[in-house]
Amino acid sequence: MTSTTFRGLNPTMIRIELRRVLRNRRTAIFTLIMPVVLFEIFGSGPQTDDRVGDGNVTAYILVSMAVYGAMLAATAAGASVSLERAAGWSRQLRLTPLAPAAYIASKVLSALVISGTSVAVVFAVGTTSKAQMPTATWVQTALIAWVCSMVFAAFGLFMGYLLPSENVMQALGPGLALMSFAGGLFIPLSQYNHVFRAIAKVTPVYGVGELARYPLVHDGRLAGAVVNVLAWTLLFGAGAALRFRRDTARV
């Protein structure tokens, strides 16, 4: 890696990227409002006062929805490369000193800022709810939900390079919801039969959910979850890198 690898990367890129997200009503609703609404719906249902680990069921659902919001936000931020390629913006960038890797880095950083915002919004709403867990657990679960959204920044980038569509998020939105069911984010894995439980453990959402909820429930296979998160990050990252290299190759 040389000093020019990330040439041109700067805070203005992130600032303008955030403004774009907030300006786009669909993305804003998708990444900031929907997770909150889902939390309001599921977090206050029957039996949500039951104890789970160090807190209650509402807290458990709060963390799950924060993970979901972070996922959506990070995926949308990554997948925006699809639209920018279609608009010829990636080509335009090649007429500037901005290094290709710096462009990708800006997308990952933006994804993390946006997913962090999403987690913060969900948790802020959570403090006004009956969610209950130790203070340290609030911080730990939020941080893990946020950091692990990296998997989905990579996923979004990969899909953004893979899919030609301008509306790539219209395909990815339902896809993420399915993956969330498959990975036990919306319904605890204990409700699944052993076949589906085994399948769930190799899907990309499983690891993130398990890890983020671990400080609350102190339960589950930590090592398996870590391996899941790292493996999917590497896989999606490698896929994105491969497509990216093909995309920027000079002909």
Binding site: T12, I16, W89, Q92, T96
Partner: protein
């Protein structure tokens, strides 16, 4: 940054570019001097954009070399020495005009002030407008503003006024001309002869990937004015055709004759009344035919 002591803004030596079985550029040699305003004139598919892409480092020649201000094209881009206004695309609709220029400026180490760039491109008054809500002409001036950000020595414009209305085109060229007066080298590709005529010091004609003419606007125009009278005339004799009043040049292709001249009426009247020529066809010479005239190629 080292200053290179070269008079050439662009040096193209023996450049070819092949895409599969298509020979897009077929051996071009060209030197563009600093401070020149050069029009790259040619029909669609002549190889203009392919050549421009190589000058911008967006693609590499199959053979030959391109250097920009004495360095490799990619280096010239990275150094902010060269920038371009592309034909279409390259804009994000959900950014404002000002944000687009701000973002572009953020990539360069020593960008020109955003406000000044907007003013020079004549879009200071629409800075807060979303790009998606701008007219084609305004978007093109925004692309020009983006090209001015690094204060480059050389700006390349690839068919910059395609799809613009007359007013938009005039406004656009006004901004370009004011800027060029400061001594920037400008190279623009166009298929409008009038545009090349009005704004360029020097015109390069390109056809089928080759340079077919290189001269001042007046020189090129002289080659391209007049009308073409085409007729079926078996057994026509060259000297007799050349003697027809008003005829400037003659070509015989089998049973067809092609007569070029400014007074096409007189030529036609002569052919119909004094010869056995039939099937007359009179066309004003557009650029394509100017090329044919210049290359002697049968289309």
């Amino acid at each position: 940054m080292t200053t290179t002591l070269t008079d050439a803004a662009i040096e193209i030596r023996g450049v070819t570019k092949r895409f599969g079985s298509v020979q897009a550029v077929n051996g071009i040699d060209l030197t563009v001097r600093r401070g020149e305003i050069l029009a790259f004139l040619g029909p669609n598919g002549a190889g203009k954009t392919t050549t421009i892409d190589m000058v911008l480092g967006l693609s590499t020649p199959s053979s030959g070399t391109v250097s920009v201000l004495g360095r490799a094209p990619e280096q010239a881009v990275a150094d902010g020495m060269i920038s371009a206004v592309m034909q279409s695309g390259g804009l994000l609709k959900d950014l404002t005009v000002r944000e687009t220029v701000e973002l572009t400026a953020s990539f360069f180490p020593r960008p020109h002030p955003v406000a000044e760039v907007l003013a020079r491109a004549g879009i200071a008054d629409i800075g807060e407008r979303l790009v998606g809500k701008c007219s084609g002409g305004q978007q093109q001036r925004l692309r020009f503003a983006m090209a001015l950000v690094p204060d480059p020595e050389l700006v390349i414009l690839d068919e910059p006024t395609t799809g613009m209305d007359v007013e938009g085109r005039r406004e656009f060229w006004k901004a370009i001309r004011e800027d060029a007066a400061r001594g920037r080298t400008i190279v623009f590709a166009t298929h409008y002869l009038d545009e090349a005529d009005a704004y360029a010091d020097r015109i390069i004609l390109i056809r089928k990937g080759e340079l077919v003419a290189d001269g001042t606007s007046a020189e090129i125009k002289a080659m391209a004015t007049g009308r073409l009278v085409r007729a079926t005339f078996p057994g026509a004799r060259l000297p007799a055709l050349q003697a027809i009043p008003g005829v400037e040049s003659v070509e015989v292709r089998g049973d067809s004759v092609l007569l070029r001249g400014r007074d096409s009426d007189a030529i036609a009247r002569h052919l119909l009344t004094k010869t056995k020529a039939t099937d007359l066809e009179i066309t004003s010479q557009n650029l394509e035919e100017a090329f044919l005239a210049l290359t002697g190629d049968t289309a």
